[in-house]
């Protein structure tokens, strides 16, 4: 099963994303900010990273930029899952190298459909 790293500073949000993904059989690892995510991503490999934007230590867009600069994550799908939905922020996400942008609150079935699509 594909391995997914989810990054969010909110424990409640991490739980919701993890429960949703594991219910579909994915193998899920979690990080509470961009810095921790980068450490975990360095030590292991993932088929997909789903990250929040506003987090302490390192925000999600900085994380996306760092991951895109790493050979092992150059082609890995990187999804942003955030409360922010402005065109300006989405553009920043796109420029940072994100694969897609999902605005919270998320619908579990639609999240799973998007995950399946980008993992293909």
């Amino acid at each position: 099963m594909p391995r997914i790293l989810t990054v969010d500073d909110s424990a409640a949000m991490r739980q919701m994303v993890r429960v949703t993904l594991t219910s579909a059989g994915y193998d899920v690892e979690q990080a509470k900010d961009g810095r921790e995510a980068l450490d975990i991503a360095n030590a292991s490999t993932f088929d997909l990273v789903i990250t929040d934007v506003n987090m302490p230590e390192m925000d999600g867009l900085t994380l996306v930029r760092h991951l895109r600069g790493m050979p092992s994550y150059r082609h890995t799908p990187l999804l942003v899952l955030t409360t922010e939905g402005s065109a300006e922020r989405k553009m920043q996400g796109r420029e940072a190298g994100a694969t897609g942008w999902l605005v919270k609150p998320f619908n579990p079935d639609r999240l799973l459909a998007t995950v399946a699509k980008v993992l293909k």
């Binding site: 409640a12 219910s23 897609g100 919270k104 579990p108 079935d109 699509k117």
Partner: protein, 218 residues
């Protein structure tokens, strides 16, 4: 002519945080504050000495501030009815379906405060509402209270003060710069309008069930 006197004493409204320009404010002579009234599903944050008010039936409002950074705000939300099919056809777990709007309301408020300079460890959180005012088989107010408590527990954010439950609606006025909250219990005769509005809000949550926008860049 006290009305004219009050009008001339009304100060210029304080600046609004970016993103909240559309929210209507009015001068409240009783509290001598510019005041924002928020409705179910809305939230508001401020850096100024304003008041935020709302009326709660079974809904919950969290009043949150950082006394050092001097920013504060309030939300107003409820969980939608748990309409998860019992046949197990929904792939996403039921807990996710029923609580995501509550989590979203809490996260939106907290995130905006952090963006304005609040520090998570300093957040002072007060929780109100969750009355048993909707005529329903299940105690919707209690579900909302249970949710907000478990959410804050999971986030390791302590509740400083609360006034929840009971069978009366509440009018809440929050003064974020002072952290003071004024709660007035409303009489049962005032329930009807509040529960009608909450029912409409609950229906709108059901309609929004598909969640936020999804955009793939490639």
């Amino acid at each position: 002519m006290p009305e004219i006197a009050q009008r001339t004493l009304r100060p210029v409204p304080p600046p609004v945080v970016r993103g909240f320009e559309q929210i209507q404010r009015f001068w409240e002579p009783d509290t001598q504050r510019w005041t924002v009234k928020i409705l179910p599903g809305e939230y508001y944050v401020t850096r100024s000495d304003e008041a935020i008010t709302t009326v709660l039936g079974s809904c919950i409002s969290a009043c949150i501030r950082d006394p050092v950074a001097k920013v504060g705000g309030m939300n107003h939300f409820m969980l939608p009815e748990d309409t998860t099919p019992r046949d197990g056809s929904a792939r996403g777990a039921p807990v996710v379906l029923s609580t995501r709007y509550g989590s979203h309301a809490m996260e939106s408020l907290i995130n905006d405060l952090l963006k304005l300079g609040a520090v998570r460890e300093r957040l002072e959180i007060k929780v109100f509402g969750g009355g048993r005012v909707l005529a329903a088989m299940t105690d919707i107010g209690k579900r909302n209270i249970d949710f907000v408590k478990s959410y804050l527990n999971l986030e390791r954010l302590p509740i400083t003060a609360q006034d929840v439950g009971g069978d009366q609606p509440r009018k809440v006025i929050y003064f974020p710069t002072e952290g003071r909250v004024r709660v007035r219990k409303l009489r049962p005769i005032e329930i009807r309008g509040i529960s009608d509005r909450e029912k409409l809000y609950m229906e709108s949550l059901r309609a929004k069930d598909e969640g936020g926008d999804i955009e793939l860049f490639t």
